[in-house]
Every structure is written in structure tokens, then in C-alpha cells.
């Protein structure tokens, strides 16, 4: 159990920049999630923490110890690899027992620990099989088992449940989170699945092209994204983005779009004024924060037409045209929305609006 400090870390593979000036403090016992799209440098960061990759420049500390030059075994970490990396010639039991054997534990202790881990991961029946005889999901669980049989200073998980089916994945999310809370082990968890990040992490570090975009709690990340990338990456279905102009009017500051016009709140106006916002900006609104009514007799402001409806079981996802060029995604509980081409009315929950600098993507709010 250690606090992890990543300070000014850069990583080059030859000439390719993989991680750029990363600063990250992971607290003791914290569940930190590195979230980002494929190729953004998540695994690279994790591998530098593990000691599997040289650090081009910068420092990594576990508590007060600088670990830059320590090999993996001296860092006391347990890692789950993206590609399992099981020992193909050893049975599942031996795979799990290997880290314990290396620590010279007694046979009975090893058997007991492996049994417990296997039970939690539901692989008890597979202990005598070799990796070649397992399904992808079973391999992945074996790989997780090898990490959790012992109590390391830091857990490093690289997309540990990406290849499980949906049901098992949600089960494992709960199990891993519970395990982390129970063991109170500092954990760095890499994923490209924002749902995993949101549901498990204490804090999330969103990365993009080797650069840390935002660090915050799941709710901060979701409700106050720092920029357009984070706003678009987090949340399912993704946020709607629309190019607009800011215009002053009698009522205050308004957002003007060919299809609609919205008056911002005073608080929002202040934020924009303080940020010296250009008049050409971009707004973002989550599908959950758009309101919709079927037919054209409703009270909402904007008249639109339905493009397609996607029932999701409980909710309904609707793509609606505001005008010829503008289409938005709306999430609603209403079941009867009609079909493509039918009229509808749409409204904004203005409090939940985000405004971004069109050039830099930085959020004003």
C-alpha cells in the first residue's frame, strides 16, 4: 500500500512520443483509473509503473522511494496484462501459485490462497487445466487471479476484464471494486471503457495522445469535463456538440444556432465573460439533458423531426433532426415517439449546458 507519484514523466519509443509530461499523484489506497482511447499511452504509463519500460525522463516514486531504476520484482507490484501472459506450460493452479512460491510461502498457505482467489473468480473447476484449454474469459480471470493471490504495494490492471461477456464483466467490476476496498491496496486500472472508469474508480485520469486531459472524481469528469475531448469521451451515448454564436440581447447572453436560440443563466454569462469567450463557440449537451415530446403541439421550444428511434429496454434513444444539417441524440423514458419523419419538440436543460472554445476545445463550463 503505497502512494504513487508520477512527476514530469515523458516516454519516447525511439522517436515516437507515447507519454508527454505526465504529472499524477495517486493517493494511498486509492483506486485510480487511466481512461482513454486506444493508443493514448495508458499501457505505457502502467508499464512504466511496473518497471517493464524505461522512463525517458521524469521520476516515479512509491511513497518516498524513487523506483525509476528498480526492476519489477523490487517494486512489489502485481500486474494483470492486457494479453493475459499466462505460463502456457503450467496449470491454472501453478499459474496462481507462482508468485506465492517465489515468496517462499508454505504449501498449505499457497493452496488456501489459491483456493480463495479461484472461488472469487469462479475458476475453481479449472485449476488443473492449462491455459491452452481455457476460453478467453477464463484466461483473463486466471490472469487476475495471479495478481490478487498476494498483497502487493500496488495493483496494476491493464484492461483486465475487457474480454469477458457483459454479464461477467459487470460481476467482475463489482468483485474487483469490493476486493480493492477490502484489501485497501493502491490500484491503477487502465481501461478504454468509460463505464468501467465511472463505476469503479475513486478518481479518473483521462488521457489522449499521451497527454493527461483531466484528473478528477467520476462525477467531476462527467459533470464538469475540462475540454471537448473529455466531454465527448465520457458518457454513453456521447454528448451532442453544436457550433453556435454567442450574442448579446436584452435578456442577457444568448446562444444562437440556425435552428434555435437559448438564453444563458447569469452564472454562465459570468463564466463566459471571465473567460473572454469568442463569439464563435461550441456547445455540448448530453442526450440525457435534452427533453423531447412527440408531436408538434408540445410546450418545448424547438421543433424537430424524428430521424430514428432505438429502444434500449428501459430507455429510448432518439436521433432527431433540428434542421437539415443538425441532428441530436436524445435519451428519454417516453415510449411512444412515433417513427422516422414524425414531428417532435425538443428542449434544452440549460443548467446542464457546456460551452467550449472552438479552437482549443477548453471548456468554459
Amino acid at each position: 500500500m503505497a502512494a504513487v507519484t508520477i512527476k514530469d514523466v515523458w516516454k519516447y519509443y525511439g522517436k515516437t512520443l507515447a507519454v508527454k509530461e505526465l504529472n499524477l499523484e495517486i493517493k494511498k489506497n486509492e483506486f485510480m483509473c487511466l481512461l482513454g482511447p486506444s493508443g493514448c499511452g495508458k499501457s505505457t504509463t502502467l508499464r512504466m509503473l511496473a518497471g517493464l519500460e524505461f522512463i525517458s525522463s521524469g521520476d516515479i516514486h512509491f511513497d518516498d522511494v524513487r523506483v525509476n531504476d528498480l526492476p519489477p520484482r523490487e517494486r512489489d507490484i502485481a500486474m494483470v496484462f492486457e494479453n493475459y501472459a499466462l505460463y502456457p506450460h503450467k496449470t491454472v493452479f501453478e499459474n496462481l501459485a507462482n508468485p506465492l512460491k517465489l515468496r517462499k510461502m508454505s504449501r498449505s498457505e499457497i493452496v488456501e490462497r489459491v483456493r480463495r482467489a479461484a472461488e472469487m473468480l469462479e475458476i475453481s473447476e479449472l485449476l488443473n487445466r492449462k491455459p491452452g484449454e481455457l476460453s478467453g474469459g477464463q484466461k483473463q480471470r486466471t490472469a487476475i487471479g495471479r495478481a490478487i493471490v498476494r498483497e502487493p504495494k500496488v495493483f496494476l490492471f491493464d484492461e483486465p476484464i475487457a474480454h469477458l461477456d457483459a454479464k461477467l464483466r459487470s460481476h467482475m467490476r463489482g468483485e474487483l471494486k469490493h476486493l480493492q476496498r477490502r484489501l485497501e491496496t493502491t490500484t491503477v486500472y487502465v481501461t478504454h471503457d468509460q463505464l468501467e472508469g465511472m463505476s469503479m474508480a475513486d478518481r479518473i485520469a483521462v488521457m489522449h495522445e499521451g497527454v493527461l486531459q483531466q484528473l478528477g472524481t467520476p462525477s467531476e469528469i462527467y459533470n464538469h469535463p475540462a475540454n471537448e475531448f473529455v466531454a465527448g469521451f465520457v458518457g454513453e451515448p456521447p454528448m451532442n456538440f453544436l457550433d453556435v454564436r454567442l450574442e448579446r440581447s436584452n435578456e442577457g447572453l444568448s446562444v444562437v444556432h440556425p435552428a434555435f436560440q437559448l438564453t444563458l443563466t447569469d452564472a454562465q454569462r459570468h463564466l463566459l465573460e471571465n473567460g473572454n469567450a469568442e463569439s464563435d463557440t461550441r456547445i455540448g449537451i448530453r442526450p440525457d439533458n435534452l427533453l423531447i415530446e412527440s408531436g408538434d403541439g408540445g410546450s418545448l421550444d424547438i421543433a424537430g423531426s424524428i430521424f430514428v428511434t432505438e429502444p434500449l429496454g428501459g430507455d429510448m434513444l432518439i436521433e432527431a433532426n433540428l434542421d437539415a444539417e443538425t441532428r441530436v441524440m436524445v435519451k428519454t423514458k417516453i415510449r411512444e415517439m412515433g417513427g422516422p419523419g414524425d414531428p417532435c419538440r425538443i428542449g434544452f436543460d440549460i443548467e446542464k449546458l457546456h460551452v467550449f472554445n472552438k479552437e482549443t476545445g477548453v471548456a468554459y463550463f
Binding site: A50, P71, P72, E82, L86
Partner: protein, 292 residues
């Protein structure tokens, strides 16, 4: 994971191919097994019986070849008067000793070359294999001089060393290929588990077992069959089976019975080696460890 069973579909071509295969195998079997059989049978014959041959084309009379009173005299003679036990022991020590040395040094070198990236790696590899390119006779004379001044001529360590100079480059090349096929991620996992480099190396060693098995066979065979080194460097104190057998061919009285028996003694151990090592030659052990 896909099962490794071979799917077979029936078709007329398949039948024809099968027939040709069977015929080929029969011819091949006769070609390889018959000389060995004759050697084995002759080694149990008295000299006179050995020359009882049917006339050419007289297939009905083949029986005379098998019409004899078996005797173990040649074998007894080999191991008593002719000291073949010593030569057998020398052969075993020289070939297996060299195999052991080559395989342990070779595995470590191959591992290092496979895993490390450094400048001149390709040149180093080429230099290693180039030592195998010179014909044995070309290096024989200088090698003999060196060995004699070091007191290695006529000793088993000398012979082992001589074989190793030839086996080691080969070992490095074969085993490097096998190590290249072991995903590096497995070692990374081992290191995270708490292995140091040496333990990680030992952990993946079973994964290159097919390579090691194949190599041991080749290496032992090289030493076992070698005549040139054995007769020049091993001469005297470290006489091996091929040299001893050759000495049975004397100008006046060629001892056919003993030669046949010596042939059998030389062949049988290698057959057992083949059987023993066969199960290690099964490739595909690494399948399924890492998601491709």
C-alpha cells in the same frame, strides 16, 4: 482455442494419394530397414554361415540366409578381448558430454541474443554461424596443434571440447529461433510475479523444450558418428566406437562377425535416444498463452 485435430474429407484423390503413400512407405521401409536387419542377423552368425547366400534371382532359396545356429560369440569377444565397453563408454561420454555443455551454454547465449537489442547483433550472429562453415578438415591441423600443446589430445575432455566448438554455434542458432517464439510478455509476467532474470529464464525453459530436445539429438549424433576428430584428437586414450570398429578391418583377416556386432552396438543406443526424446519434440506448447 481451435482444436488441433486434422479434418479429413473423403474424395477419390485422397484415396489415390493414400495408396501412393503406402507404396512409398513400403519401399522406404525396405530401403532403410533391410541393411540393418542383415547387420543384426549377421552379427549372430559364424563366419561360414554369413557367406551362405542364395544365388542371384533365386528367391526360393532365401531361406538359407536364416538357416544358421545363432551365436553370441562376437558380442562376448567384443566386450572381453576387444575392450568395447571402454569405447562405448568413451562414445557416450564424449557425445553426451558435448551435448550437455553445448545445450547449457547455447541456451543461455541464445536467450541473451534473442532478448537483448544491441548494435552489431546481426554481425555477431553471422560470426557465430560462420565458425560452422569451414570444413572440419580445414581446422583439423591447427586444432590438433593447439590441443596437443594444451595436453588435450587423447583425452575425453579434449574430445568434448572439440565437439562443442562445432555444436555450440549450431545450438545458439537453433535455440535462438525457439526463444524468439516465446512471447516476451510471459517473462514480464514472471518478473512482476517476483522472478529475477535468471528465474524468468528458467521458467520459460520448458517452452523451448522441443528445441532443446531436437538439438540434443543432433548434437549427440554429431559426436556419436564422428570419425575424424575421434581418430585424430581422441586417438589413444579416448577411442570411440567408430574408430574401434574401423580398426577391426585388418589387412589379412577381416572380422565380419565382430564388425557387424560393433555396428549393432553403435546403432542401438541412438535408436533408444530417438524414442526417448520423441515426446519432447512436440511443438505447440506455447499455444494459447497470450492473446495474439
Amino acid at each position: 482455442m481451435a482444436s488441433r485435430e486434422i479434418v479429413r474429407y473423403r474424395s477419390p484423390t485422397r484415396g489415390a494419394v493414400q495408396a501412393v503413400t503406402v507404396i512409398f512407405l513400403i519401399v522406404f521401409l525396405i530401403w532403410t530397414v533391410l541393411p540393418l536387419l542383415i547387420m543384426l542377423v549377421s552379427s549372430f552368425k559364424e563366419l561360414l554361415d554369413a557367406f551362405q547366400l542364395p544365388a542371384v534371382g533365386d528367391w526360393g532359396d532365401v531361406g538359407v540366409m536364416f538357416d544358421f545356429k545363432p551365436t553370441g560369440r562376437h558380442y562376448v569377444e567384443l566386450f572381453t578381448e576387444k575392450h568395447f565397453a571402454t569405447y562405448l563408454r568413451n562414445s557416450l561420454i564424449a557425445s553426451f558430454g558435448s551435448a550437455a555443455v553445448s545445450v547449457s551454454l547455447g541456451a543461455m547465449a541464445a536467450y541473451a541474443i534473442s532478448r537483448a537489442q544491441f548494435r552489431g547483433k546481426r554481425d555477431l550472429l553471422f560470426w557465430i554461424i560462420s565458425t560452422r562453415m569451414a570444413p572440419v578438415v580445414a581446422v583439423m591441423v591447427p586444432l590438433y596443434v593447439i590441443f596437443r600443446s594444451s595436453g588435450l589430445v587423447g583425452t575425453l575432455p579434449g574430445l568434448i571440447l572439440a565437439y562443442t566448438t562445432f555444436n555450440l554455434p549450431f545450438a545458439i542458432w537453433i535455440l535462438k529461433g525457439f526463444f524468439d517464439n516465446v512471447p516476451y510478455a510471459i517473462e514480464e509476467a514472471a518478473q512482476c510475479d517476483g522472478c529475477n532474470r535468471w528465474q524468468a529464464f528458467r521458467l520459460i525453459l520448458p517452452l523451448v523444450a522441443p528445441g532443446i530436445g531436437a538439438f540434443i539429438v543432433l548434437c549427440v549424433l554429431f559426436g556419436w558418428n564422428d570419425f575424424l576428430f575421434a581418430s585424430i584428437i581422441g586417438s589413444g586414450g579416448a577411442k570411440t566406437l567408430p574408430v574401434a570398429t574401423a580398426e577391426l578391418v585388418q589387412p589379412v583377416k577381416i572380422q565380419w562377425g565382430s564388425i557387424m556386432a560393433a555396428g549393432v552396438v553403435t546403432t542401438v543406443p541412438m535408436m533408444f535416444l530417438g524414442l526417448l526424446i520423441r515426446r519432447y519434440l512436440v511443438a505447440g506448447l506455447t499455444m494459447g498463452a497470450v492473446r495474439e
